[in-house]
């Protein structure tokens, strides 16, 4: 790795001042699990890394509001989320997803902020968080804004974040009365990076499906919702037909985990399976 400066500010204001919107060689560092690989490969040669480790409790806590909404600090590590009793109760799909995400030693270091800001399309959590309706809270010298997770990543490794903007937390609306499931499809070992990830979340009222959200990752340029499949499901389509709609709608691309044609078939089958899993034991009319 080429030499760089590593700074450890003690406040958010200081951290923002140390970032430089005009210099792509200045980056924040969370756990460093993604950055370090890019640096070792010579793909990224930083001038300065701004560590967010010293930023204090606002960025390291997991809080549940009275309404059941969750606020998760950007520096919360994936292993902490996986083991958190609050997450296991209020959004169990997150803990379930993490079990086959990378491995224990990586999860003990990687942070949720770094995970979301990385922008690699082959990740497990983005479709899950999109299905849950999550937003990131981002801070820059011009103030704070919220960005829906589905709008955060714009293309391969490119996000909507400015060069002097940091994710400070993740907000997940209350999942009370909602059910969710995530299915990871891998082409090699069970805990490989996903070839496809499908997340669904929905409510059931009077034996009818309400407000479904269907999101996919790892098969399209960025993780995304599939609004036509969602509309079909709300309109009473079977799980199989909803899967067909999803496969027809998704702008699938191929990679070394599988061709576009193969992944398109997977999308249809996996959406159907994810719906079956989310709705296991629930009676639906029709």
């Amino acid at each position: 790795m080429t030499p760089f400066e590593l700074v450890e500010p003690a406040s958010l204001g200081e951290a923002l001042a140390l970032l430089d919107p005009d210099d792509p060689a200045v980056r924040p560092i969370g756990g460093g699990t993604a950055l370090m690989l890019m640096m070792k490969a010579g793909f990224f040669e930083p001038r300065r890394l701004v560590s967010l480790r010293g930023l204090g409790p606002g960025i390291t806590g997991i809080n549940e509001g009275a309404d059941g909404a969750l606020d998760i600090g950007a520096m919360v590590r994936l292993g902490q989320l996986e083991r958190s009793p609050v997450i296991r109760r209020a959004a169990p799909v997150i803990a379930e997803t993490l079990v086959t995400h990378s491995n224990v030693r990586v999860r003990n270091v990687a942070t949720i902020g770094g995970n979301l800001a990385h922008g690699d399309p082959h990740m497990d959590l983005p479709p899950v968080l999109i299905a849950l309706g999550a937003e990131v809270v981002a801070a820059s010298p011009s103030g704070e804004r919220r960005i829906a997770v589905e709008n955060l990543v714009e293309s391969y490794l490119e996000t909507a974040l400015g060069g002097d903007e940091l994710i400070t937390s993740l907000h997940i609306p209350s999942q009370r009365n909602r059910r969710a499931a995530y299915i990871k499809v891998t082409a090699r070992s069970a805990d490989d990076w996903p070839a496809l990830g499908v997340a669904v979340s929905l409510a059931v009222e009077n034996r009818a499906i309400r407000a479904p959200r269907i999101a996919i990752g790892a098969a399209t340029e960025t993780a995304m919702r599939l609004p036509k499949a969602e509309a079909a499901l709300t309109g009473g389509a079977s799980w199989r037909d909803t899967g067909r709609e999803a496969a027809a709608e998704a702008p699938v691309i191929g990679d070394h985990h599988g061709s576009a044609a193969y992944k398109r078939v997977l999308v249809g089958v996996t959406v159907e399976r994810a719906l079956r899993r989310a709705l296991a034991g629930v009676e639906i009319a029709g």
């Binding site: 790795m1 080429t2 030499p3 760089f4 400066e5 590593l6 450890e8 460093g32 699990t33 370090m36 690989l37 640096m39 070792k40 890394l49 560590s51 480790r53 292993g79 990378s102 491995n103 224990v104 030693r105 990586v106 003990n108 270091v109 070992s189 805990d191």
Partner: protein
């Protein structure tokens, strides 16, 4: 740019001057001479470099030394009690869980992390937990047996101490 880091390594305070880009594993091996922690892949894949930081297993090849400032690091050198091997080390020896031994320090540090949270892991739990710890020699079978035996011995010595 040079920085001074102070941390605890195997229970003893350590201070070293490092660069921003110095990895924790470089600090341990090259500055502190603790060469029990190995570097296999250098890219987070193999687990030869696993150490404990504040009681949790991490890969020291992808952690910057500066990120360990003020933290409590344990390496394979801190596991035995003088000349008395730790029950987990004993179990690796007794079960023939190593051949070349390159992966062993990382395997043992991962095993101790598993047993800390799960004192009686099933074979399946052990195998799942070892994802990210690679061994080129043993075929894993005896490593799994050793971890089961090591966990049992640790439960026994804990019961005896109580």
């Amino acid at each position: 740019m040079q920085k001074t880091v102070s941390l605890t390594v195997n229970g003893k305070p350590a201070t070293a001057t490092v660069e921003g880009r110095t990895l924790l594993v470089q600090l341990l091996r090259e500055t502190l001479g603790l060469t029990g922690t190995h570097v296999g892949c250098d890219t987070s894949q193999c687990g030869a470099c696993v150490v404990h930081v504040d009681g949790e297993a991490v890969k020291s090849c992808t952690l910057l030394a500066v990120q360990a400032e003020g933290r409590d690091v344990k390496t394979i050198e801190g596991v035995a009690n003088g000349d008395d091997l730790h029950p987990m080390q004993e179990a690796f020896r007794d079960n023939h869980a190593l051949q070349c031994g390159f992966c062993t320090p990382g395997m043992i540090m991962s095993a101790l992390d598993l047993v800390k949270n799960n004192p009686d892991p099933s074979e399946r739990e052990i195998r799942e937990y070892l994802e990210g710890n690679l061994c080129r020699c043993t075929g894993y079978h005896n490593i799994v047996l050793a971890i089961k035996a090591g966990a049992e011995a640790m439960r026994g010595s804990k019961a005896a101490a109580e």
